[in-house]
């Protein structure tokens, strides 16, 4: 049920993120969610896109340091306490969220230390996971 995420190594300088987004735009790749994080001199930008394979190919063709990895995408009802409920499940199951960010609409992407255990915990609590197909189709 995992979704592809494209991560890119970026120097934290004006125009560098734009360069990546230009590549996406000209290749017709729609960004469905993203996050950026940095250490002071370099950073990692992470993207969930509708066409991950194409995105990776286009970035590599431009010699970008890009990598594909997996995240789990969870659809949460926009209600008080929903986020807390999910994180409480992880805490109880001993799952560590390494990073997370929100996508368009009410979807959050999470990367944990154990995706199989995370999926199992979410399933047990009937929390909806969003598939790659849905992301690509514009869930």
């Amino acid at each position: 049920m995992a979704v592809s995420q494209i991560s890119v190594f970026l120097e934290n300088k004006p125009g560098h993120l734009l360069h990546i987004l230009n590549i996406f735009e000209t290749s017709g790749i729609n960004v469905r969610g993203f996050s950026t994080a940095d250490t002071g001199d370099y950073g990692i930008a992470r993207f969930v896109v509708d066409k991950p394979a194409l995105a990776l190919e286009m970035l590599r063709a431009q010699s970008c340091a890009a990598k594909e990895s997996e995240v789990l995408c969870i659809r949460l009802p926009d209600r008080l306490g929903e986020l807390a409920r999910v994180i409480r499940i992880f805490a109880a199951a001993g799952i560590n969220v390494i990073y997370s960010y929100t996508l368009v609409s009410n979807i959050i992407a999470i990367h944990t230390n154990n995706h199989a255990a995370t999926e199992a915990s979410l399933k047990e609590h009937s929390i909806e996971l969003v598939s790659q197909d849905e992301i690509s189709a514009g869930a």
Binding site: Y42, I44, R60, S63, A65, A66, K67
Partner: protein
């Protein structure tokens, strides 16, 4: 038959004692020529209390005055010219990045000697008359362009004088004219690789076989990279504008990274830069060259500031001319950081042993905090990127540790994006010293 691959076998494989006898003969003549025709040299001889006839053995070269770049600047443009300007057929000059350029003139004889020397190094690299050489050096005042051009013509191979720049046209010419030899700076060759790879150029099946590099230092790791990406054999040669340009020494395929010096035209000395005393054969010191066969701009004991070792041990190729090791440092590119002597090539050596970083780097020195700080910018290769700060930081610390072990100081390492360090067409500027000196 090891001798068959020489341009001029009788000269290039002569017994050592013949070479030395010829050198002494020529040195004696050259000392007279220089003394009689150039007032600046006459004055130097007088100050040292030496006369041309004092040269009785090759070792007596040590009695002659040194020449350095400053002498060429002080006598700019024609003060060191030994023939009437009517006999000077061509001028070349250095790029003149600091102050005035230095200019060198050539008589017909000088041009003939020069193209002979270049033809030798071209043959040493494996080029034959059936080859087709594509020129990617700029022509003009730079000695590399016309130097290699006429050397190739002397050999008798086809030359395509495309000149520098316009990479796509170069790629087209390789394909259309089926050229087999590329003459370029190593950084331009890397640039061609990159552009070619983006455009889907098929290096594996291209007609190119040999790269003749020059114009800037070609580090072993750049060489390996170009060889594996372009699928060619890369050679380089040694020369400098002051002593004709390319052609002083050429890389020998039988002992890679060693270059046979054209000893019938150049007398070499290797001196300890601190004492100016000769170094024992095979130990590193500053290369000092005396032109043995130069009419227009003869130079005695020219201080190259290049550090090398020279051996007269026999070479597997059959040539008897001495071999110098590839110059990888200059007496003046040593950096002193917090009192420690560091050569940029040490950084290069460390980086070439780390998987996941490119061969390009930059060194930035500053002392904003009051203490010298060395920052090394290192290009991350796409395959080494991992989507985790923890492993990236670990990788960065690993590079710092490896550099610290070699340099004895702790640098700051900054990882930068692939391809982001400028590939200059000329000399790669690797060190940026921003330190404020009191």
């Amino acid at each position: 038959m090891p001798h068959r691959n020489c341009f001029d076998p009788a000269v290039e494989t002569a017994p050592r004692e013949h070479i030395r006898r010829l050198q002494l003969e020529k040195l004696q003549k050259q000392a007279v020529w220089t003394y009689e025709r150039i007032p600046w040299y006459r004055e130097r001889f007088r100050k040292l209390g030496v006369k041309p006839e004092d040269i009785r053995t090759l070792e007596d070269v040590r009695r002659l005055p040194f020449t350095d770049k400053q002498a060429l600047r002080d006598n700019y443009p024609f003060g060191l010219c030994a023939v009437p300007l009517d006999e000077v057929l061509r001028l070349h000059s250095s790029s003149g990045t600091t102050g005035k350029p230095i200019v060198i003139g050539y008589s017909r004889h000088d041009l003939d000697v020069w193209s002979d020397c270049v033809a030798r190094l071209v043959v040493m690299a494996g080029v034959t008359r059936s080859d087709r050489a594509q020129m990617a050096f700029g022509y003009g005042m730079f000695t590399g362009g016309l130097g290699l051009h006429y050397g190739c013509e002397k050999l008798g191979c086809m030359i395509v004088p495309a000149g520098s720049g316009n990479t796509e046209r170069h790629l087209m010419m390789i394909e259309d004219y089926q050229t087999t030899v590329l003459i370029s700076t190593p950084s331009y060759a890397l640039h061609m690789c990159e552009i070619g790879e983006k455009l889907g150029f098929d290096w594996a099946n291209s007609s190119l076989k040999i790269g003749l590099f020059g114009g800037e230092p070609c580090t072993p790791c750049m060489k390996r990279e170009i060889e594996s990406r372009m699928r060619i054999v890369c050679t380089d040669n040694y020369g400098l504008t002051e002593v004709n340009g390319p052609g002083v020494a050429g890389e020998c395929l039988s002992s890679r990274d060693h270059q046979h010096i054209a000893e019938d035209h150049f007398l070499w000395e290797v001196l300890d830069p601190a004492t100016d005393e000769p170094c024992p054969e095979g130990t590193e010191g500053e290369l000092v060259l005396t032109l043995l066969d130069k009419e227009a701009f003869p130079l005695l004991r020219y201080r190259t500031h290049d550090l090398t070792r020279v051996t007269t041990e026999p070479c597997a190729c059959g040539r008897t001319h001495a071999r110098m090791s590839k110059v990888r440092a200059r007496t003046d590119d040593m950096l002193i950081i917090r009192g420690t002597n560091i050569f940029p090539r040490q950084v290069e050596d460390v980086l070439s042993g780390i998987h996941g970083v490119a061969s390009h780097y930059r060194i930035i020195l500053d002392n904003e905090s009051g203490m010298d700080r060395m920052t090394v910018m290192v290009e991350l290769q796409p395959e080494a990127f991992s989507d985790s700060f923890e492993s990236m930081n670990h990788f960065q610390r690993h590079i710092v540790d490896r550099l610290r072990q070699s340099l004895m100081i702790t640098p700051v390492v900054r990882l930068v994006e692939p391809g982001s360090i400028e590939r200059t067409l000329g000399k790669s500027k690797r060190v940026d010293d921003r330190r404020v000196k009191e």
